[in-house]
């Protein structure tokens, strides 16, 4: 399995966020997307999930199911946890497992893996931010999908949560899965490819050029 993007351009609100983006990531590999705020990390992931239109360029997936879109074969983990506070921890997971389905055989396994099985009956509204993030991670385990699109997956997670996340990602890669993650901090995946978005932003290039110019003027003034 290989996911590749060629000459991708993302346009939001009439301006190009990034342009001419090329990347390629194969099964068993992870791609870490980095860059400053606003560089388009989230937009790239949403584009892969099919939530943002591709302004230019194309995406291709080799070795996937030809009848499904990339988004339909991927788990998308955004900034928001997609949980209903009135539903219990187990009910929330049960819903996403049913909707994204078919769920893996074990019902309680994913909750135990994220360490929430002891409070499966509590309303999700009682959970802390880190616990909510762990609950939304559980849906990646509850339904098997080859592509994981993770947007800042480690934010709000404490040290043990980050360790768990790293284990999940390693297991997914070992099983031949593919990960694209937007992140500030290193997630501890050995041999991950890195994609830096800063250089690809037209606005950034323009700004650095202008900065260099003004520096030159200053230097020129004795």
């Amino acid at each position: 399995m290989r996911l590749a993007g060629h000459d991708l351009t993302c346009r939001r609100g009439g301006r190009d966020i990034f342009a001419g983006l090329n990347f390629s990531v194969a099964g068993g590999e992870a791609l870490m997307v980095s860059g400053r705020n606003g560089a388009g990390k989230s937009s790239l992931l949403r584009m892969l999930a099919g939530l943002v239109r591709i302004a230019h360029g194309d995406l291709e997936l080799e070795g996937g199911d030809p009848n499904l879109t990339i988004g339909e074969q991927a788990h998308y983990l955004g900034h928001l946890d997609a949980l209903k506070p009135s539903l219990s921890v187990a009910e929330n997971l049960e819903f996403w497992a049913g909707f994204l389905g078919p769920p893996t055989s074990s019902r309680s396994g994913p909750l135990a893996a994220v360490g929430l099985d002891a409070i499966a009956d509590l309303p999700a509204g009682y959970l802390s931010a880190g616990q909510r993030r762990r609950l939304s991670l559980a849906r990646l385990l509850a339904v098997k999908r080859p592509i994981w699109l993770l947007d800042e997956p480690a934010s709000t997670l404490d040290a043990s949560g980050q360790r768990r996340l790293r284990d999940f990602m390693r297991a997914h890669l070992a099983a031949g899965g593919l990960i694209v993650a937007a992140t500030h901090a290193a997630l501890g995946i050995d041999g991950a490819h890195e994609l830096r978005l800063d250089q690809l932003s037209p606005a950034f290039a323009h700004a650095t050029a202008a900065l260099a110019e003004s520096e030159a003027v200053k230097v020129g003034e004795p």
Partner: protein
């Protein structure tokens, strides 16, 4: 001293929990006496056996109003004295008061059909009781909408105090406006105008229903206190898991 002790929720549970079965037993006895007397009471010379609806209708009206009265005092307790049991009382009383008001409306409607030829008329007494019922439902909806009990309690207390305006309107509606509904016949300055053969069972039935009201109120308060403990425990449980 006793009242101050009762204010502590744990004390309240310790005293109320064993009292509830006794009150329940007393209620059953009162109903046994009341229903016997009501069945044996003579029919009205005009209304026939229909008049017996009164034995449900009048207690329903009285307890519907008493319920809001209890809530009004509790609302003051919540807002002024910050009494720990006040909002529990207010929350517990609302559905019970609403149920008795509903009983009053339904029995009144069934009584009105043979007497006035219609289930419902928009007259001052009926309308003001209907407004009381709507106020009850509104407060219940408010309690259910706001998650945090103490915030819900303050909001409900304000609505309750404003809604208390309806109580004197209900009471005096039969005097202020021309209505089909008969005027007061039990609590009058010049004494009751009902024959003792009906007045006595009516008072016994009212007493029985009032005992039922108190029993239900205490049970509902106990349930609410336990529900809050469960909530606190679950919040603690969530934070322990980490």
């Amino acid at each position: 001293m006793a009242a101050a002790n009762l204010a502590n929720p744990s004390r309240f549970l310790k005293i109320a929990s064993p009292a509830i079965p006794w009150l329940g037993g007393l209620t059953v006895i009162a109903f046994a006496v009341g229903i016997t007397e009501a069945v044996l009471s003579p029919d009205d010379y005009q209304q026939g056996a229909t008049v017996k609806i009164m034995f449900l209708h009048v207690p329903g009206a009285w307890l519907g109003m008493l319920g809001w009265g209890v809530m009004t005092v509790a609302a003051l307790g919540t807002l002024v004295w910050r009494h720990p049991l006040a909002d529990v009382t207010a929350k517990a009383a609302a559905p019970i008061g609403a149920a008795f008001t509903f009983m009053c409306l339904v029995t009144g409607s069934l009584w009105g059909r043979p007497m006035w030829g219609t289930y419902w008329v928009w007259d001052a007494r009926l309308t003001s009781v209907l407004v009381l019922f709507l106020l009850y439902l509104g407060v219940i909806a408010l309690w259910r909408t706001v998650d945090d009990p103490s915030r819900a309690a303050r909001a409900a207390a304000i609505v309750t105090l404003v809604g208390a305006v309806d109580l004197p309107i209900i009471k005096f509606s039969v005097e202020w406006w021309n209505t089909l509904h008969q005027s007061a016949s039990v609590f009058r300055m010049d004494g009751p105008t009902i024959d003792p053969s009906i007045l006595v069972p009516l008072l016994v039935m009212t007493g029985a229903f009032t005992l039922l009201f108190i029993t239900l109120l205490l049970a509902a308060m106990r349930n609410e206190l336990l529900r809050r403990r469960v909530r606190t425990l679950r919040l603690m449980q969530a934070s322990v898991v980490g």
